[in-house]
Subunit: 358 residues, 2 copies
């Protein structure tokens, strides 16, 4: 009789679970992009999520990040698995008292609407682990994947730690209306530098000037070398590079002796057929220039500074609250927009951070 | 009568000067080299030297330096002027008590047998100025343009200051039988590193092994990438690059995370049509690799360390005296050999430092 009750109870749980089973929508990578990615490289599938075990939580995406680095991930991850990416998500079911329902967090489980995060993952606030969202007050939660997240810290550490700016330094920033570039422009101004910014439209240029850039140009209608000759006759001391390729080839001759290049990204080359770790002779870092100008070029991934993560976010938040740091988001509505929002990066469709709200 | 004597005296001085007038032989650059330099790019002329004024000295070349960087100078200096270069010279006439007859020094007045150094030049022991030769005991004076001069300090500072080696680091050196590379191999071993060396002949490889390299290869008969896969399965931490171009393209994929490239030279590219400060897209520093491996690439000129010049030379001399640092010289006899010795650099004709003794 006792056994019978237990079995009925078990049956009821099963029925409850099948009624409440959560189905996630997931964008998989189904084909390696050749050149510019196309929507056919991705496929949206439904995935039945397992129930939460002790210590797990179920989260729902609040804002999904669209970032240039994902183009590299599309070369690396296995096909027919979820496309790599981060998101701000909200706990909607919890079997973990440290992550109660309503908690906001950032995870890197990819392009998906719902996710079960296992207890083990929740213990590991590290590189590509699960991170608590910092207290953001009245600011939008989506900033946790923008100016108060990875792109913000990319600008903060990648500029300050690698370029080590001094007041009066001449700083060059490209992709200056992007999530990272727009922050670098403002941080450089806060440090007393002269800032030369390049962006991809007249509207973006106007915004970058509002942010304080001393000189701003539309690289599509301006000769980069000529512009730098005019506004940086003594050369560029610090170059924060998001673009690479031809832009950097044009800019490098304008570096001053002992100039530093903080190599954050090279979006102009991401659709080319040159992968990481492959021998190539197509880079803009002219060896003669690097030697004779004694340049320091340094590539970085922001997770180098994981141990100092909150230092960056706290400073960025303080600057935002003081009105010293501005940001923009380009929000794409609808989870179905993930591939097109991503492809749009390569056409400069975003100003500031590109985000998909499902 | 007094005036008459003075005039006679003056006449006698003139006669004396015309008898004793020194005629220097000077190699001028008369044509810009296209691709590999040819002997026709240079012309040997005679130059009547002026008499020494108060404070001047007349010096005679003892050993003339042949260096890869001169290929860049051949793009920069005015045509029909002396080819740029350094030499160890000996004072043979002096009107300066600080530089008496018999003093040895290093100057940068170019490819010439005799030179009048003006009092102003002798006050300026700086970048491309006139430098006293360090006390070398029984060592050959020619080392003042070799292991106890610019190439020695290039290895010393360019490796130690930029690469900051730790015991156990895996170090890659190319041009490893050259003046600079052979010193880097040994300094890296003194610092407890594992050294992988590449040179251009089996004889050179044998010598580099004698110097202590853990692994040494003839790059002409070995696939650089395959060799590095075998001997550096965890990657290269520090890469001292003298060669650039295709070699570096092959080596870069084998850099470990946070690897450092000390970019000393790129001799394999010097005869290509890519000048300093010219936009180009032909460099081996694959942007994806630099970013994702978080590489630090730094070009340098040794004169960055002018203020610490004697620190380097004193340490190098101590190591030589202790038998810890070995060197070779390839000596070309005859001032007429200057152009051919220079061209020979691009065919690997030298082992260790290339020197012309006039």
């Amino acid at each position: 009789m006792v056994l019978g009750l237990a079995r009925i109870q078990c049956l009821l749980v099963s029925i409850y679970q099948s009624i409440t089973m959560v189905v996630a929508k997931v964008w998989q990578l189904v084909r390696r992009p050749e050149g510019e990615p196309s929507v056919e490289d991705f496929l949206c599938v439904e995935e039945e999520l397992p129930a939460c075990s002790e210590g797990d939580v179920l989260v729902e995406a609040v804002a999904l990040s669209i970032d240039p680095y994902m183009r590299y991930k599309a070369r690396q991850i296995p096909l027919n698995t979820p496309m790599f990416g981060s998101q701000v998500a909200k706990v909607i079911e919890s079997k973990n008292p440290e992550w109660p329902v309503g908690t906001h967090l950032v995870h890197y489980e990819g392009w998906r609407t719902h996710t079960v995060l296992r207890s083990q993952q929740l213990k590991n606030e590290e590189h590509f682990g699960v991170m608590h969202l910092p207290d953001m007050g009245d600011l939008p939660k989506s900033l946790g994947i923008g100016i108060l997240g990875m792109p913000g810290n990319t600008a903060y550490f990648g500029f300050l730690d690698i370029c080590k700016p001094k007041a009066g330094d001449v700083v060059l920033v490209n992709g200056a209306a992007g999530a990272v570039g727009s922050a670098v422009v403002q941080i450089a101004k806060l440090k007393g530098c002269t800032v030369i910014a390049f962006a991809g439209s007249d509207e973006k240029v106007a915004w970058v000037k509002e942010l304080g850039a001393d000189h701003a140009f539309n690289y599509k209608t301006t000769d980069v070398g000529e512009a730098l000759s005019k506004v940086a006759p003594k050369g560029v001391n610090l170059y924060f590079d998001n673009v690479g390729g031809k832009f950097t080839a044009q800019a490098l001759p304008h570096m001053a002796d002992y100039g530093v290049v903080s190599l954050c990204g090279a979006i102009s080359t991401y659709n080319e057929d040159v992968d990481i770790g492959v021998p190539s002779l197509t880079s803009p870092f002219n060896e003669g220039t690097v030697i004779w100008r004694q340049l320091h070029i340094e590539g970085f991934l922001v997770f180098r500074w994981t141990a100092r993560w909150m230092e960056g976010l706290n400073q960025l938040k303080e600057w935002i609250e003081q009105g010293k740091l501005k940001y923009k988001e380009t929000v794409f509505q609808g989870f179905e927009k993930m591939p097109s929002a991503f492809i749009g990066l390569f056409h400069g469709e975003n100003t500031g951070k590109a985000v998909v709200v499902p």
